[in-house]
Amino acid sequence: MSQDRRWLLGGLAVVFGFVGLFLASRAGHGIFYWIGLIVFLAAVGTIFGFVRAAFDEAEGKAQTPQHLVPLTMLAVAVGSVVFHFLSPWWWSPIASNWGYIDQTIIITFWITGVAFTAIVVFLAYCLYRFGHQAGRRAAYEPESRRLEFWLTMGTAAGVVAMLAPGLIVWSQFVTVPEEAAEIEIVGQQWQWSFRYPGEDGRLGRSDTRLVSNDNPLGLDPNDPNGADDVVVQNVDLRLPVDRPLKVLLRSLDVLHDFYVPEFRAKMDMIPGTVTYFWVEPTRTGTFDILCAELCGVGHAYMRGRVEVMEESQYQAWLQQQPTFAALANGYARVTSRSPDGGEASARSSVR
């Protein structure tokens, strides 16, 4: 390396060192503190390296081959693994029966992680071991059927090891248990509405064409199954714990996606069709509902909350809600308070 270039890079390292120091001192703690520190140390190391190289050169010592590149590639592999285990960012504690999905993810992490690390470490080793040296010639090696065969087999085995559990869990995911209770969630720009079947446990028919101010979800007034349905808007979704639920999803306008990170399950809502998934909440508590399918400018604001509660509490709450038929008959135009002091009226007009 020429003298000029060394000065140039050294100067750059100094600048970076200062930036790192500045960053670390300003941040004081957390991620930027560590980053700044690492940058600073790397810069100091680089400058030392340059100084040493300059001395070596002046003393006429043989130049050692460059090991910076393989080392960096190695650092990428090791750093990724370390990051994986140490980072504070991980999935939120699960609150549903879909622990299987988490397990499949863990299996996948192991297999892909091993593959990634092995390949990158091997790559780094090649760079280290076979870096250019004057007078050396590469080996001549067009192919090796055996090696390729075994690599193919190994890969196939890895793929099967991921796919098989994946498909098994998927078949559970798509097989709704007989006893699952139905509940309907309706998306529209940019809010969630919910419908519970009444006593009969069945949801009545609905049609987007029937949507009106008095019938915000488009229920069919002629369907007796729908008479005792309970429609709520602008309140939290309430679900009983430890009961499998078939969640029916509908949209009145555009695509939405009902997503509760703690449930792991999600599914798009498509105007004109009813989609579904099933889930069994396993932990009481309140969780965020997000929309996970771009639905216009309000997409990120389309939030809601789901409250998973004990069965008895849930039933008590549900009893208090006016049914669709009652509302349609013009009774109960009063707002009904929910037991816990209630945040909003169970029946609110659309916009």
Binding site: I119, L123, L249
Partner: protein
Amino acid sequence: MVDVTREFQDIERAEPEDVELYHPHSWITKYVFSQDAKVIAIQYSVTAMAIGMVALVLSWLMRLQLGFPGYFTFIDPATYYQFITMHGMIMVIYLLTALFLGGFGNYLIPLMLGARDMVFPYLNMLSYWIYLLAVLVLVASFFTPGGPTGAGWTLYPPQVILSGTPGQESGVFLMLVSLVLFIVGFTMGGLNYVVTVLQARTRGMTLMRMPLTIWGIFTATVLALLAFPALFVACIMLLLDRALGTSFFMPTLVEMGQTLSYGGGSPILFQHLFWFFGHPEVYIVALPAFGIVSDLISTHARKNIFGYRMMVWAIVAIGGLSFIVWAHHMYVSGMHPMFGFFFATTTLIIAVPTAIKVYNWVLTLWRGDIHLTVPMLFAIGFIITFLNGGLTGLFLGNVVVDVPLSDTMFVVAHFHMVMGVAPILAIFGAIYHWYPKITGRMLDEAMGQIHFWVTFLGAYAIFFPMHYLGLMGVPRRYHELGEMAFVPPSAEELNAFITVVALIVGFAQLVFLFNLVWSLFRGREAGGNPWRATTLEWQTPTTPPPHGNWGKELPVVYRWAYDYSVPGAAEDFVPQNQPAPAGAAE
């Protein structure tokens, strides 16, 4: 030799006769309305990079908003959505597709195959101008009332044409028109590339002697030709829905309390059409990158590519399979759940040939004589980022794992790694590699090193941690996290960190642009074959090659493209047009 085409023996070589070559008469026809594939290639590349800069700047703005929500008041949700849409669409279609196929395809196909030019030069020229028009129409949407569309690059109906989406007034028209133009222009170019590869190869250039770059570009072009019609149809139908009120994709719906006059359409239909194009599109940008990286690694490690035949078969197999995996983008779209089994299986099967390619690249390095030149560094960067992104693809392809991860930042991190960063690194490597042939001068090495390290490490630092945001459940296409109970405050810091790195990486690209211009005038003279490479483009009589490429006589080919470090040969490379010593063959 086995005779495979005896029945065609009587037909003469299909190379264009000299008289057929179009000869430019003025400056305009030579450099502007040129029919020379090399000039068209440069026009394509410059245009693609220019519009790519727009997409890059948009990514800074988005990152600023995500990293420091609330500071940049001019970025409201609507503009944010417009930014992601334009950024995504530009990067995927107008930058990567155009640069790989229109740029590298045009430059390398004739040169690497020993042809004088593309087979249909006039069509080729038209292709570029239509592409330029498409780009201009796209850019125009920034200046129309309402701005560009903000529907996401997937343009899903119904929202894309409803009033809750920014750019619904006119931006969406321009986007769709621009896409239609792009497809028309691309088809003209694509037919050229395919026919040229099939037909205009010089004597001795059998398919199995073609460099992998050509295999990659060729297969990708075939994919594009067959996949773009699906997007074309989808765009036309969407245009009609918006303009004439037809209901191809529009069911009955109630927008803001108003029942619209649409009815009977199917939003899922659009998704099928879009992804029928969209998945092959991933390979349209990946396959050329595969090919290019193979050649870079082989040349700079002075070793033949390991398992050439396997590499060719893998490219063809991946190309074929890529048409039957599209619905892995629709696992949570509410399509029939049984499809999940099928598409998860096909998707994971593709992983096998893809993995073989990765092994073979690394095995090429094994016992090589590795020159850590800038192109080589970029090729290594490609392997690592592509490997990373490919492996996270196994998460998303495995249907049930995709359920929690789909539409989160995990997806954003995955596709940036695999079809954003990796192909871009391959493109950079290719530019450092072929720039000497294009201009006759080397790109500056020191600037190249800085460019590489900042870009590679930076991009990795941007997108690797991002996976973990997604794992946590942060959805994509959110302009701010807002209050989410499950998101710890440290995630905001991570976002800020990512933004800072993204800005640094962005500015490193300015070094590259400066290098491009600076080296044009001040770069070291390269000579005809600075990398001591075997392939034909390095054997042209003059550098840069003139119109017609080869002077009086076409080169002829006697060997495959990877004769590096052949035992017994005087040099560590034997050019493709050098015959075997008499008597020594087979």
